[in-house]
């Protein structure tokens, strides 16, 4: 066959085009063209689906944007290809076109098949994003640890500095037989040493809570009685400031939790409330929460899923900005002069850790000039192991849940020995 004949056949000898075939109902060739076009279009759709399914749910990142750009280039080329169809309809070389289309179908489907590998790429992007986030988190932790240590070091140096200088003063006072000076310097030494010891204790406690916290020693805790006990500790300070300390709400609520830890949290919250309230009152509100509400047996003893103990004061309040940092170590909202006698800013950090360790948390609401409310929410049963009760269990199942759901969290005295058994 002559070369001219070969090209002539491909170009229909310059006589016909696809439009001609359509008009002349040359079904076979029109069908071939349509099938090829549809096959390419389907391949595109498959690729697009793979792309969409794999890139979904990934955060924005440079790598993802780069892949998106590549995709957009392909889409653009595809659209250009389809714009070519009307030209093709009039192009006499329709057989050549169909051979080109056959190649296109082959490659489109080849890529459609392998485009499922996009998952690998997008997974890698997802992993690297996660790693980047983890790295940032680790860096942030390291920064916070460093600033924590810095603060500890600074806060230890300050009382230590005072101690050493006051010791010199004391020596001078002894040499000069100046008893008044000796007395004041000894008082300062005592205050500084106390501050250093207190800081160390807090520091050790934080370390313990972050590392391997003590297991909760569960026992029956009467919330009302515990709150009364905590309030009694702050009564003198409250009287001096002219504040009233009251308890309202579900005083008969009962928790199975670590009494010492709850007491430490409450002491901190009430202590803060008393410290930062000039006039008015400090009120502790006890409320049951969760859906176990009101299932009592007529005595109102139905334990909810959790208990909220809110310490509400009419004090100076805390700005929204400070509230965000409130539970960070060494943050003090009302101690810009960082007077160590006003504490170190570790109390709330410790309280929140304790609360979380008991399976609960502390939330804060506050408005400057109006007051603050710190809400300690504790689950009815804290995680941990059963401990010998110190007799805080009220002896008998009287506080048991009346709705017959079989929660035997009451501590009961055994008839004989007075030992308390904890029935988890």
């Amino acid at each position: 066959m002559l070369l001219a004949d070969f090209f002539g056949w491909f170009t229909n000898y310059g006589r016909y085009n696809t439009l001609f075939h359509c008009m002349s109902e040359d079904v076979l060739w029109v069908a071939i063209t349509v099938v090829l076009d549809v096959a390419v279009a389907t391949g595109y759709i498959v690729i697009a689906r793979h792309w969409w399914a794999n890139s979904r749910g990934l955060g924005d990142s440079p790598a993802k944007r780069a892949l998106g750009t590549i995709r957009n280039i392909f889409v653009f080329c595809g659209i250009c290809g389809y714009l070519f169809i009307p030209v093709k309809m009039l192009w006499p070389a329709w057989r050549l076109y169909d051979i080109v289309m056959a190649f296109l179908v082959y490659f489109t489907w080849k890529y459609a098949w392998s485009s499922k590998d996009l998952r690998v790429v997008y997974n890698a992007i997802g992993r690297s994003e996660k790693l980047a986030a983890e790295l940032a988190e680790t860096r942030e932790q390291a920064r916070r640890k460093a600033s924590f240590l810095n603060a500890v070091s600074h806060d230890l140096r300050t009382p230590l500095n005072g101690l050493m200088l006051q010791a010199e003063v004391a020596a001078m006072a002894v040499a000069d037989r100046d008893e008044a000076l000796l007395a004041t310097s000894l008082a300062e030494i005592k205050a500084s040493a106390g501050a250093a010891a207190e800081l160390l204790n807090y520091f050790l406690e934080l370390g313990r809570l972050d590392g391997s916290p003590e297991e909760n020693k569960l026992a029956q805790v009467d919330v009302g009685e515990l709150v009364d006990q905590v309030l009694r500790m702050h009564q003198i300070a409250a009287d001096a400031a002219g504040l009233s300390l009251t308890v309202v709400g579900a005083r008969d609520a009962v928790l199975r939790t670590d009494r010492l830890k709850v007491e430490r949290i409450l002491r901190n919250l009430v202590g803060n409330a008393v410290k930062f309230t000039r006039r008015g009152k400090v009120e502790v509100r006890i409320e049951r929460c969760g859906n176990g509400n009101g299932n009592g047996n007529g005595h109102g003893n139905g334990n909810g899923d959790c208990v909220e103990i809110a310490v509400v004061d009419t004090g100076v309040g805390i700005s929204a900005e400070c509230q965000r940092q409130l539970f960070e170590e060494f943050f003090q909202a009302h101690n810009y002069e960082r007077d160590r006698r006003k504490g170190f800013g570790l109390g709330l950090a410790i309280a929140r850790r304790l609360a979380r360790h008991l399976g609960g948390d502390i939330a804060v609401w506050s408005e400057v000039g109006v007051g603050s409310r710190f809400t300690l929410r504790l689950p009815a049963v804290a995680p941990g192991r059963c401990a010998d009760s110190h007799g805080h269990g009220n002896g008998g199942g009287g506080k048991g849940n009346g709705n017959g759901d079989g929660n035997g969290h009451a501590a009961e005295r055994e008839p004989g020995g007075g030992a308390v058994v904890c029935r988890g």
């Binding site: 810095n150 500095n161 005072g162 050493m164 200088l165 010199e168 310097s185 960082r338």
Partner: protein
Amino acid sequence: VLIVEDDPATHGALRAILRHYGWDVSVAVSMAEALPVLATDPDVMLLDLMLPDGNGAALLEAIRRRKGATRVIVTTGASEPEQLAEVQALGPDAMLRKPIDLPALLRALQR
């Protein structure tokens, strides 16, 4: 000497000690208290950088601007090398790390 220091145990002790060694001592516990005293051009200022109402570095700059004869001894609780370098960059006449070593302080004062 002007002592600018917020910790009461420290400034109390420094006041007693420096008085004992024959210095005329005044104490400021904040930037606000220190500024009026600076106007009297003390010979030496003993400056703690962490102050309740701002960084003591600003005081140091204020003194440099006055071009007086006041010498500045900075006391700092910082321990990190970078922080110490930052303090050095402020150009104090001497720098003492807390806890303050008394002989070193006296040497720095006498210079």
